[in-house]
């Protein structure tokens, strides 16, 4: 597989993180921000074994590791599809109602993802940098325009239904894209520690900017908002008579496609490693499995604890076992 640069690595993962944030449900408060920041820090700490493993020159050799990450990527890809269905009820997407609508929208995304995966990770990562840059500009516009509508007392007004530990867990789970983090880190140029540190720092900044924007704009009506980030984007308009939601809608679609494409490309890569003779329809198989997983997992977003175990397993347990195995083999 081709090697990608640090910027490309960060762009691929940050797009997935941003999309997961767009689809975030429930109240956002200062506790949420603190919880998310702590969750990101925890992720970074838990990523040490895999960083150490790659720093020692380790690779994705073992079949069982490949299978675990493949399953993880399929499940996370399925959750991304499910998130997209939920938000599409809120931001109008034509023909998206009902089972057929979901299938149609998923099919469309799958077709674009299939095309993207056919061009390979190198092309996807190049495109992701441009998409992330466009997203950053749009986020900047939304953030700046939100300052004109800022209600600073929202910080005290917005209340979180959960405590710090639960918000931390939520923030920890929110980045289910850590499966692709593990896979992509192995093919990123440069030192794994630096690559990971920069990514987590950028992720922290992104999370804080998005959540703070949501609080200062939509904090007062957080109770009534299904998706606080989407509501914040709709309310933070730079001009009094001109709305810019169209920008957000397009970015939402682009990020949805790229997020799922990242899971498709990485899972198809692992599928090829698991079954070397299975070459032609790897991406198609991955996408079909993801859509199947989406139907199975739709509506299970509240089972945060179960998901947090899965994330912890992907980020800490499996890499730790890989690292220990490598040390033992080296010791012999």
């Amino acid at each position: 597989m081709s090697r990608i640069s640090r910027n490309q690595f960060s762009a691929l993962l940050l797009i997935t993180d941003a999309f997961a944030l767009f689809c975030l449900m429930g109240n956002i408060s200062l506790i949420t921000i603190a919880g998310f920041a702590a969750g990101t820090a925890l992720q970074f700490i838990m990523a040490f074994p895999i960083i150490r493993f790659y720093s020692c020159g380790g690779g994705f050799g073992s079949k069982w590791v490949q299978i675990i990450y493949f399953v993880y990527l399929i499940l996370w890809g399925g959750l991304l599809f499910a998130m997209q269905w939920d938000v599409s009820q809120f931001i109008y997407i034509p023909y998206s109602e009902g089972f057929r609508g979901k299938l149609l929208i998923s099919g469309l995304i799958a077709v674009v993802c299939l095309y993207i995966s056919s061009t390979g990770i190198k092309t996807l990562s190049r495109a992701a940098v441009i998409a992330a840059a466009i997203g950053a500009v749009c986020l900047f516009i939304v953030a700046v325009s939100s300052l004109f509508h800022a209600e600073w007392e929202n910080f005290s007004r917005a209340e979180s239904a959960a405590g710090i530990s639960e918000e931390m867990m939520k923030g920890f789970v929110l980045s289910g894209g850590l499966g692709s983090f593990v896979v992509l880190l192995s093919m990123t140029k440069g030192k794994p520690m630096k690559n990971a540190a920069i990514y987590f720092l950028e992720k922290l900044i992104l999370t804080v900017v998005i959540t703070v924007t949501a609080i200062i704009v939509a904090g007062g009506i957080m109770e009534a908002a299904d998706f606080p980030i989407v509501t914040a984007a709709q309310l933070s308009q730079p001009f009094p008579v001109q709305r810019i939601d169209s920008l957000f809608l397009m970015i939402f679609a682009i990020f949805a496609v790229f997020s799922i494409a990242v899971q498709t490309v990485t899972s198809a890569y692992l599928l090829g490693e698991i079954f070397p003779s299975f070459r032609k329809l790897r991406s198609t198989a991955s996408l079909v499995l993801m859509i199947g997983a989406a139907f199975a997992l739709h509506g299970t977003g509240r089972y945060i604890r179960i998901y947090s175990f899965a994330v912890a397993a992907a980020l800490l347990v499996v890499p730790s076992i890989m690292l220990i195995q490598k040390k033992i083999i080296k010791g012999r």
Binding site: S5, N7, Q8, S88, Y92, I93, P94, Y95, S96, I105, L108, I109, V112, Y115, I116, T119, G120, T123, L124, R126, A127, V129, I130, A131, A133, V241, Q242, R243, D245, S246, L249, M250, I251, F252, A253, I254, A256, V257, F258, A261
Partner: protein, 485 residues
């Protein structure tokens, strides 16, 4: 493509048999003239292709000295004398086979054959009529030179040499086309272009087995990627000054005889927005103009689609005044917005095509009929709404700001309109992803089309996001090799 039988056939020694063979190969073509004469006591013949050479030059520089040669022992001594003692022209190749003989003869050379001689001598006295150098029609420019390439390859080569006098500028002439025998010329700065890249380009060109090469479009697929690419990864220019700047940046140019354009390899997406005038004006103005072009590109591709998507599916995005205005104008039109937009765009494409193909005076009439009569009456009769016509016209005019991308932009405009008309902004977003990935996948000889944006090269931003001052650019010493992956 197999070469014809005569290509490698050696020249026949007997003059009468030789002439018979030449007439047989040429099929007795009226423009191949055979002038038999005796010089130095040897029977000879001078072959010329009528209309391809200068009669005054051949009379003065070739016929005059060649007919006054003193008697020679045999034809070999005669040829040695002509080659060693007479400088009849600057280009004097020796010919051993009929393939070369006909290639040179049909290129405007005078060919001398003699009795009992298995060789022929050619003299470069070309003098066919060519179009004079004129201002390029497609690459307008205010402050730069007003010279454009012409159809004659050697004049084009001289236009480059006149601007780049460095010995590092290499021009490699070669012939392609089984029947047309078209002269092609690879042009590059040998100190700027890696040898591996040149080898790859040469090997791509070796795959050409066409019978004729009549435009750059015949060659470009051979030097481009085989994958489906929306935008071309090679460029063309009809301006010698632009080509010189490309050569200095380490690019390779390819001239085709008979075509007033040069192919530039590789081409980057951002280059489509750069013109020579950018470097003639102040940097702040050039930067402003460049961003106008970026904006025009986006408008030309997306405006009709955004209009259709927002009016049909997301009217809440418009302010009330605009919404009322559009509702008022659209309620009187009989067709849906997508049908209307498609119709207007198709009508425009038909009018444009008619305007190009028709003789110029009639072409002007077409513009009047289409613009004033059809456009005006379509709006007045209520077939098309005024806002939609305005949006479409703005999109079409914006497309002309970046003419090189116009063919791709035209098709993308239709595709985005369909996506926006069916699936709203979500559809536009989906298609934008596919187009973005396609552009990022465009790559030739290891040069990504989207460089320096992605892969990101900070050094390249000085001539992409802004246009830095000339002093700053001078210190950078840029070559396109910086973007190679």
């Amino acid at each position: 493509m197999n070469n014809p039988d005569y290509e490698k056939l050696p020249i026949i020694r007997d003059l009468s048999q030789n002439i018979k063979k030449i007439k047989e190969i040429s099929g007795g073509s009226s423009d191949v003239l055979v002038n038999e004469f005796v010089t130095g006591g040897i029977k000879c013949a001078m072959l010329i292709c009528e209309g391809m050479l200068s009669i005054s030059v051949i009379t003065e520089l070739v016929f005059e000295p060649i007919t006054h040669i003193l008697p020679k022992k045999d034809s070999r001594e005669l040829f040695n004398h002509i080659q060693d003692n007479l400088l009849l022209s600057t280009d004097r190749p020796e010919i051993n086979d009929y393939g070369t003989l006909f290639h040179l003869l049909n290129s405007g050379f005078a060919v001398l054959i003699a009795d009992d001689m298995d060789k022929a001598l050619a003299f470069g006295v070309q003098g066919f009529f060519t179009r004079s150098i004129q201002e390029p029609s497609g690459e307008g420019n205010i402050m730069g030179a007003h010279e454009g390439f012409v159809e004659t390859i050697r004049i084009n080569m001289s236009m480059i040499r006149r601007r780049l006098k460095s010995p590092e500028l290499v021009m490699e002439l070669f012939v392609k086309g089984g029947k047309s025998k078209t002269d092609l010329c690879l042009c590059y700065m040998q100190d700027r272009v890696p040898k591996e890249l040149m080898d790859k380009i040469r090997s791509s060109l070796d795959k050409i087995e066409l019978e004729s090469i009549l435009s750059t479009g015949y060659i470009r697929p051979f030097v481009e990627n085989d994958k489906f690419e929306l935008f071309s990864s090679t460029g063309t220019t009809e301006r010698p000054d632009v080509l010189c700047s490309k050569l200095i940046e380490g690019r390779v140019a390819l001239f085709v005889d008979g075509v007033p354009f040069a192919i530039v390899i590789p081409r980057l997406f951002c280059e489509s927005f750069q013109t020579l005038d950018d470097y003639s004006f102040k940097p702040y103005y050039a930067t402003f103009i460049r961003w106008i072009k970026y904006g025009a590109f986006i408008i030309s591709v997306l405006l009709p689609a955004l209009y259709a998507a927002i009016v049909m599916y997301h009217p809440e995005l418009m302010n009330s005044t605009l919404l009322m205005l559009l509702v008022e104008s659209e309620k009187n039109t009989p067709f849906s917005i997508v049908t209307e937009s498609m119709g207007v765009l198709l009508m425009y494409e038909i009018i444009r095509e008619a305007g190009i193909r028709l003789p110029k005076p009639v072409g002007g009439a077409v513009s009047i009929v289409s613009g004033l009569i059809i456009g005006d009456s379509a709006v007045k009769s209520g077939l098309i709404s005024t806002p939609l016509l305005t949006m479409t016209a703005l999109a079409v005019i914006s497309g002309f700001v970046v003419p090189e991308l116009n063919p791709s932009v035209t098709l993308l405009r239709f595709a985005f309109l369909a996506a926006g008309g069916i699936f709203g902004l979500f559809g536009i977003g989906l298609l934008a992803c596919a187009v973005l990935v396609n552009i990022c996948a465009t790559e030739d000889y290891g040069f990504p089309y989207t460089a320096p944006l992605s892969p990101f090269k900070a050094g390249g931003m000085g001539d992409t996001v802004i246009r830095s001052g000339m002093k700053k650019m001078q210190s950078r010493g840029f070559t396109v090799e910086e973007y190679h992956e």
